[in-house]
């Protein structure tokens, strides 16, 4: 991008009197907006830019050139499952027969949309080994919250109000405890063992009749399968709690393992991870929630149900439901893409997703463990964690390695998470990456390790080839400037 000509904000391209839209002529101009009571109208127009169409197109096209997506290059961001987002899914989600549907229009006129929703519910139930799904939650975190609401509703329906605590492993993603808190639970932390898995001996004394349930990610955030899962589930169930599966790491399980078979009662799935819908720079995602038989009545309103005899789908609301977590039926555009993905792969390819993603992760790990510190040996699942460079004498940090990777045209792995290791570098390649891509990444990682020993300054001052250089995070947080108005007023 030419930042001299195109590095401005849209507001800086504005000129009074320009416009970028066309609207029909007003045939009914005798009905005048000006007739509204003036005390209810805004006194000053919003300070929006005034720009012509081509200027808008160039502005955002040039901005996109400053971005990096899965289509640009390898994106091994751990725990985010940055898999390929197939183009056919985009085409289907923009299908004209679906995009113009109003969510409250007559049910008889949206039967096709409801069938997509219903079929995806059922496909996810089969893939996860659970009974029923809602597709209403908008994201993974939203799914967690919804799932925990199911958990609480279950206990309250049994008049068991003393179950106020949720157990969460210390390796868990921060969203787990945050979701538990939003749902009104207290969080109890269970420790990990040196191999990264939940310490069953630490868990036992935590279990009593105040425990509502336990949240787990499996494989966990270190990419390790919790091999004691059957015992953990048994213990939690014996204590009267429910098991919650955080579907963040579901990808390696595809074709090999189903959360329902592992003893989980409630789970969410991130359609934007496992089912290939694009991350869109942070959203929209979708976080469907599934439950074991016996918990269906708590799923949020509205629900899509089928009268299979008459081949008719209806939207219903139940009194037993936990309430509603969304206005309508979730991010329908995302649901369309995920359904297209499942149809495209079919059962024979869906079952290969887990093994191929897992193979790629293990291959990278084995090829790099002589230059990067591998804290946990053995077979990993779809991702693994290095604890920084093996050579600790260089003062080159994980942040430096991440920034240097950008120079070589790769996105960085997830860094400084999980918190169990100080220099965590969490790598997740997906099933879509070729051996050549992985070999290219491995070679660059080895080069960076070498640079760290021989020319550490080069790494510590990276990136050098990106549109901008390292940013001053502290300045941004110390004196937050978050709008153009503040920027223009020269607050910074």
């Amino acid at each position: 991008m030419n930042s001299v000509y195109y590095g401005k904000l849209i507001f800086e391209l504005s000129k009074e009197g320009r416009c970028g839209y066309s609207l029909p002529k007003n045939e009914l101009a005798q009905y005048k907006l000006e007739d509204m009571p003036q005390n209810l109208m805004r006194q000053e127009a919003p300070a929006l830019p005034q720009v012509d169409e081509l200027t808008v197109v160039r502005h955002y096209t040039n901005m996109s050139n400053n971005n990096f997506g899965v289509d640009t290059g390898f994106y091994p961001l751990g725990s985010c499952t940055m898999k390929y987002n197939p183009k056919i899914n985009e085409e289907m989600c923009n299908h004209h027969a679906f995009t113009r549907l109003h969510p409250l229009q007559n049910e008889s006129t949206v039967q096709g949309a409801l069938e997509v929703y219903y079929n995806l519910q059922n496909s996810l139930a089969e893939i996860s080994g659970l009974s029923e799904f809602t597709l209403n939650p908008f994201a993974g975190a939203h799914g967690e919250l919804t799932g925990l609401m199911v958990m609480k509703s279950y206990h309250l329906s049994r008049n068991d109000a003393k179950r106020t605590k949720v157990i969460i492993p210390d390796s868990a993603h921060g969203t787990n405890p945050a979701s538990a808190a939003v749902c009104g639970f207290d969080v109890v932390v269970v420790k990990s063992r040196p191999d990264g898995t939940v310490d069953v001996e630490d868990l036992r004394p935590l279990l009593d009749d105040t425990i509502a349930g336990m949240m787990m990610t499996n494989p966990n955030t270190l990419g390790i399968f919790e091999h004691n899962i059957a015992e953990i589930a048994k213990l939690v169930h014996e204590a009267g709690g429910l098991m919650y599966y955080d579907g963040a790491n579901l990808n390696p399980m595809l074709g090999m393992c189903r959360p329902g078979d592992l003893g989980f009662d409630i789970m969410h799935i991130n359609l934007h991870k496992t089912f290939s819908t694009p991350h869109g720079g942070g959203g929209p995602g979708s976080g469907p929630v599934g439950v074991r038989a016996g918990l269906e009545q708590f799923l949020p309103n509205p629900r899509v149900v089928a009268d299979e005899e008459n081949m008719r789908y209806t939207v219903e609301c139940k009194d037993t439901a936990l309430g509603a977590v969304s206005g309508f039926l979730g991010n329908f555009g995302v649901i369309m893409r995920a359904y297209s993905y499942i149809l495209t792969l079919g059962k024979e390819n869906l079952r290969m997703v887990g093994p191929l993603a897992t193979l790629n992760a293990n291959y990278i790990k084995e090829c790099l463990k002589d230059c990067y510190e591998l804290p946990i040996e053995g077979v990993c699942k779809h991702e693994f964690v290095f604890d920084g460079l093996k050579d600790k004498s260089t003062e080159v940090t994980t942040l430096d390695v991440a920034k240097r990777l950008l120079d070589y045209g790769f996105h960085a792995p997830t860094i400084y998470f999980p918190l169990l290791f100080h220099q965590a570098l969490m790598i997740e390649p997906t099933e879509n990456e070729s051996k050549e891509t992985l070999d290219g990444f491995i070679e660059v990682m080895r080069t960076i390790a070498k640079e760290a020993s021989e020319t550490p300054e080069l790494v510590k001052t990276a990136p050098h080839n990106t549109p901008v250089r390292r940013l001053d995070d502290t300045l941004a947080a110390l004196k937050p400037v978050v709008t153009y108005a503040e920027l223009a007023a020269g607050i910074q």
Binding site: I10, G20, Y21, L23, P24, N26, L28, K32, L33, M36, N39, L40, Q43, A45, P46, L48, Q50, F68, G69, D71, L77, E90, M92, T99, L101, H102, P103, S123, E126, A139, A141, H142, K152, T175, A181, G184, V187, A230, R258, G280, G281, G282, G283, P284, G323, G327, F328, V334, G346, L359, N360, H411, F417, N432, K435, V468, R469, A476, P480, T483
Partner: protein, 452 residues
């Protein structure tokens, strides 16, 4: 085994397994107890080619109907400029994730900064977050923000003129978060000032939530509401139709502390309910209490103006259970959608959209109120493009069905004699006239004529 999304050849797989000291793909799962491994195929269809997938969706699409839209209730059929989808389909935006690596994410970070700037000026507030899931959850987040801000209070008031679709989400969050929600009564289509004054003066209210325009399309007068909230140490929260804010008095002008709502009305296709985008704006004073991501301006090593995710100390990955919210993403692509929309439309475009919608809706209301069996539910109340109408005919369902047969979704039925109608700039005068003609025909039918 070859498949278009899986690049490995069998030689690749053997050599990679060899590097890992393994013999088969199954060996990668040797740590999983055998009884937990799925030893069968999924009970799902076999793979479809693109040809078949297209046919499948074409066929499903035939069971949907494209209707002329006289319905709103929170989701509006506005004009979507063609530029937007062209930009949104750029994979540099579409296939990226949250901009953690700012050096290669300035595209996302800059448009979020522009989005925040536009939402702030649109709502008349000082700051905006980077966007949220939708208007309902954004309102629930604002409620939790008010309760966290008040520290020892756990009650919020919500007006009965709020959309019930929003209220039921707010009440769900409240129930689980331990918040008590009390309703402020609606009288003649607007929030009862008396009931509000009485309830907020109890001194135990953390926040008051009202709508603009309200569920019935009415633009209410909130003169003095913010002052009364502040005198009672409660936050004043307004849920507003984003597009309408181009012309109606803003939350900033009313003195609100938090402005929330859905951005769908800023040109986002209705798409059967999502994805949309929630917005949440507030004052600079409350910025550290605000949920969601925020992008701020800073400089890089060369002193160049750049943008970065900031104020992350409020967030779940650092604060865990003490975070301001469990939100750990935003609705970024949809924020880009409304950013481009507002860039194209500018202040004049937003005004024109509102003026056109106003004309269409008021023409429809005027014509209907001249028919024998139709009357406006709240005839003396000001509205923009949505209004409630009473139908005194025999069968309101028959009226809606007759409309459906003509390819018209004629409003949302609120009860057996009330419809909530809406007309935006996408309807033509002819289309409105057609609907009125059907109304004329149906109202003259006697119930004996109506056969189910």
């Amino acid at each position: 085994m070859t498949y278009k999304y899986f690049p490995h050849t069998s030689e690749d797989i053997s050599s990679m397994l060899g590097k890992c000291g393994l013999k088969s793909l199954e060996d990668l799962y040797q740590d999983i107890p055998q009884e937990l491994v799925l030893n069968r195929d999924y009970d799902l269809p076999e793979a479809m080619s693109e040809v078949e997938v297209r046919k499948m969706f074409d066929e499903l699409g035939q069971y949907n109907a494209q209707l002329k839209c006289f319905i709103g209730a929170g989701v509006y059929d506005h004009y979507c400029p063609s530029v937007i989808n062209a930009i949104l389909s750029r994979s540099e935006f579409l296939t990226s994730y949250t901009p953690y690596q700012a050096e290669i994410s300035q595209g996302t970070l800059q448009y979020i900064f522009e989005y925040q700037s536009m939402m702030a000026t649109l709502t008349g507030m000082e700051v905006s977050n980077a966007s949220m899931y939708d208007g309902c959850t954004a309102t629930a987040e604002a409620m939790m923000m008010a309760v966290a801000n008040a520290k020892k209070r756990n009650k919020v008031l919500i007006s009965d003129t709020m959309s019930p679709i929003v209220t039921r989400v707010v009440e769900t969050y409240a129930k689980f978060h331990g918040i008590v929600v009390e309703h402020i009564a609606a009288v003649d289509g607007v929030t009862s000032r008396q009931d509000f004054e009485q309830k907020v003066s109890q001194g135990d209210v953390a926040g008051v939530i009202v709508a603009a325009p309200n569920f019935y399309g009415i633009v209410e007068d909130y003169t003095g509401w913010a002052d009364l909230c502040h005198a009672n140490k409660a936050l004043f929260i307004m849920n507003c139709n984003a597009s309408a804010l181009g012309v109606i008095k803003t939350p900033g002008e009313w003195g609100a502390d938090v402005a929330v709502g859905d951005g769908q009305s800023l040109g986002i296709p209705m798409c059967f309910g999502g994805p949309y985008v929630g917005y949440l704006c507030t004052s600079k004073k409350l910025i550290r209490k605000m949920p969601g991501r925020i992008v701020g301006a800073t400089k890089d090593l060369d002193g160049k103006r750049t943008f970065v995710l900031t104020l992350q100390a409020r967030e779940q990955h650092i604060r865990r259970e003490k975070a301001t919210s469990n939100i750990c993403s935003n609705q970024s692509l949809m924020a880009l959608y409304v950013t481009i929309y507002m860039s194209l439309m500018g202040k004049q475009g937003l005004k024109d959209v509102n003026a056109l919608s106003y004309s269409n809706a008021h023409y429809l209301a005027d014509k209907l109120s001249k028919l024998d069996k139709f009357e406006l539910a709240y005839p003396d109340k000001p509205f923009l493009h949505e209004f409630a109408v009473k139908y005194k005919g025999d069968d309101i369902d028959y009226l809606q069905e007759a409309m459906l047969e003509a390819g018209i979704q004629f409003g949302l039925k609120l009860d057996n004699e009330t419809l909530l109608l809406c007309a935006t700039e996408t309807l033509t005068k002819d289309e409105i006239d057609d609907a009125i003609t059907i109304c004329e025909g149906v109202q003259n039918l006697k119930s004996d004529d109506i056969i189910d």
